[in-house]
Amino acid sequence: MLQYLVSVCSLGAITAILVLGVNVRWGLAGELDLGFYLFPAVGAYIFGVVTLPKASTQVDVTYILGWHQSFFAGLLAAAVVGGLLSVVIGAVALRRLRANYFAIVTVACTIIGYTFISQYRPLFNGYNGIYGIAPPFGDSIKLGPEGYANFFLGICLFAMVAVFFVVELIRRSPFGRAAKAVREDEVAALAFGRNPYILRLKAYVIGGVVGAIGGALLVNYVLAFSPNAWSPLETFLLYGALLVGGTANNLGAIVGGWLVLIIFPQLSLLLPPIGGNPDALPAIQNMVIGLLIILTLYFRAAGLIPELQTMQGQFRTKGQWNWSRKGHGQVGVVDASASV
C-alpha cells in the first residue's frame, strides 16, 4: 500500500510539472495552446534516445541517437529539444494568429507530430515506441526496490519544487509582468513599446521547456514510451486541472494537477466497480473532468486559488514586486502636496 502511494505521488509530482508548463503558456501569456502534450512527449522520446544504448544491438527496434548518456544529459537534451521545437512552432503560429486559430493550429501541429512519430519508424520506433529505459541512477545507488521508489519520489518532488520556484520567479519578474500585460491588452502593450510577439514567444518556449522536462521525468516513471502512452487529448485534461486549480496561479496549477489528475482518479478507484465495459471507469473520470471545466468556468472562473487574492477586503496581485517594503521604501520621498 505504501509503495503504491509512493508511486502515485511520483506521478503526481510529474503531472504537476506538466500543469505548471501549461500555466506558463495559458495562465501567464494567455496562449490557448491545445497541443501542449507534444512537448512532454518529445521530451520523453528525446530523453529515451539520449540515455538508451544504440538501437542496432536490439532486435527489430530502430530509433535515432542511442547515445547511452546519463540522466542529466538526457534531461538537458529533452529541455533543449523542447525549447527548439517551441521556437519553431511558436515563431510560425504566434506570428499572426489570434487565440481561437492559434489553438486550432497547435492541435493540428500536435496531431501531425503524433502521426509522424507513430508512422515513421526510424525516428522513435514508430507505433511500438521505445522501451527498456534504465531507472535513473539505478546502478550507482544501492537501494532495494522500496528504497529506490522512495528515492525516485524524492527526485520527482525536488523537480516539482524546483520548477515551481523557477516559474514563480518568472511570474513575479518584470518579464512576467510584461507577459501578463500582453495577455490583458496587447494593443496597450504595443502602445507602451512592448513587442507582444517576442514576449509571447518567450513564454511559449519556457512552457515548452517545462513540458519537455516533465516528459523526461515521465519516461523515467513508466520506463517506456509509445504513442499508446499519450494522445493529443491529454492536453485537455491538463487544462481541466489548471482551470480548477486556478489559472495563472502556479500554486493553483500544482493543487489542480494533484486534485484533478491524481487524487480524484485514485479515489474513484475505491468506488464499487461500474458495470459495462473496461473503458467505463476512465471514460467516467474524463467526463467528470469535462464537467469540472464547465462548472468551474460558471461558478468560480478564477479557480480554487485565484490569480488575484483578496486581502482585508482589498484585491491585490499575490506576490507582486514590493521592493520598497524590503528597505527601499524611502527612495525618493514623496511630497504629497506637490502641484501637478
Binding site: L169, G176, R177, L190, A191, F192, Q320
Partner: protein
C-alpha cells in the same frame, strides 16, 4: 509664430495619405507641431482625426508621406518601435491592464530596457531589485500626484472611468515621452474631473513632453491649447490660436459654424 520657426518643430507631418477600401480618410495632410506645446486637433466627425492619430502612432501604416519626430522618421515603423522612439498615445477608451494592480500598471508602462530579459528573473536579482525600486518610487510619486494612492494595490480593472484616465496619465508620465497623443481624454469621464485631467495634461508638458490633444469639447481645447489644428475631409484646413480660427472663413464654414 516668428519664434516658432527659429526652433525645429517636434513633429512634422508632410503630405500623408491613407484610404480605406477606396474611401480617402486622410488625403495629403501636412502640419507641424511646436516643441513643448499643447496642440489641439479638432474637426467634425469623419474629418480624419482618429486616422491621423493612428497613422502617427503606427497603429495603421501610412500609404504615402512622411512623419518625422525630432528628426526621426516614424512612417513604416510599428507601433511598439514608435513608442520606443518616445511617442506615446492613449485611446478613446482607457486601456488599462485590468488584472495588474494600479502600481503594476504604471511599472509595466515604464520603458523595458533590459529589465524584462527572462534570465534576469533568475540571475542578478539584486541589481534588478535596485532598478525596480527606483522606478517604483517614481511610480508612487506619480500616483500621489494624480490622487491614486488609495487604490495603488487594487487591480486596475476595478477603477472608475475617471480613475482609469488618471492612471493612463501616470503610465504616460512614467515613460517621460518626447511626445504624447491624447485621443479624446475626456470621453467617458465625469465632467467634474475635467480640471484634474487638465492639470495632468499640463503636468506632462511641464515634464518636457509635446502634447497633441484630440477633443470635441472646444471650451476645453481653448482653455488648454497653445495652438489648434483644424481638420476636415482628411485635410488640414486651418491652424492657429482659437481666436484666429474664429475669423478663418474655411474653418467657420466647415466646423465652427455648426457649434
Amino acid at each position: 509664430m516668428t519664434n516658432a520657426t527659429a526652433e525645429a518643430p517636434a513633429l512634422v507631418v508632410n503630405d500623408v495619405w491613407r484610404s480605406f477600401g477606396g474611401v480617402k480618410a486622410v488625403n495629403g495632410c501636412s502640419f507641424e507641431v511646436k516643441k513643448n506645446s499643447i496642440t489641439g486637433l479638432v474637426g467634425p466627425n469623419g474629418a480624419g482625426k482618429s486616422t491621423m492619430i493612428n497613422l502617427i502612432s503606427g497603429l495603421l501604416p501610412v500609404e504615402k508621406g512622411e512623419i518625422v519626430l525630432d528628426g526621426e522618421h516614424l512612417e513604416g515603423h510599428t507601433m511598439d518601435a514608435i513608442s520606443r522612439k518616445g511617442l506615446i498615445r492613449t485611446f478613446q477608451v482607457a486601456r488599462e491592464w485590468p488584472k495588474l494592480t494600479v502600481l503594476e500598471n504604471v511599472l509595466a508602462a515604464a520603458p523595458a530596457g533590459n529589465r524584462e530579459a527572462v534570465w534576469r528573473s533568475m540571475f542578478g536579482r539584486r541589481a534588478l531589485a535596485r532598478q525596480e525600486a527606483v522606478l517604483e518610487a517614481r511610480a508612487r510619486a506619480l500616483l500621489v500626484r494624480l490622487n491614486l494612492t488609495a487604490v495603488i494595490d487594487i487591480p486596475a480593472g476595478r477603477l472608475s472611468g475617471g480613475q482609469k484616465r488618471l492612471l493612463e496619465f501616470a503610465r504616460v508620465a512614467m515613460v517621460a515621452p518626447k511626445m504624447v497623443l491624447l485621443d479624446e481624454p475626456l470621453a467617458g469621464v465625469n465632467p467634474v474631473l475635467g480640471d484634474e485631467l487638465a492639470r495632468a495634461i499640463h503636468g506632462l508638458r511641464d515634464d518636457g513632453a509635446t502634447v497633441i490633444l484630440v477633443e470635441h469639447n472646444l471650451g476645453f481645447i481653448e482653455r488648454n491649447c497653445d495652438t489648434v489644428i483644424v481638420m476636415a475631409t482628411g485635410q488640414v484646413i486651418g491652424q492657429g490660436s482659437m481666436q484666429d480660427l474664429r475669423t478663418n472663413k474655411a474653418v467657420v464654414e466647415a466646423y465652427l459654424g455648426q457649434a
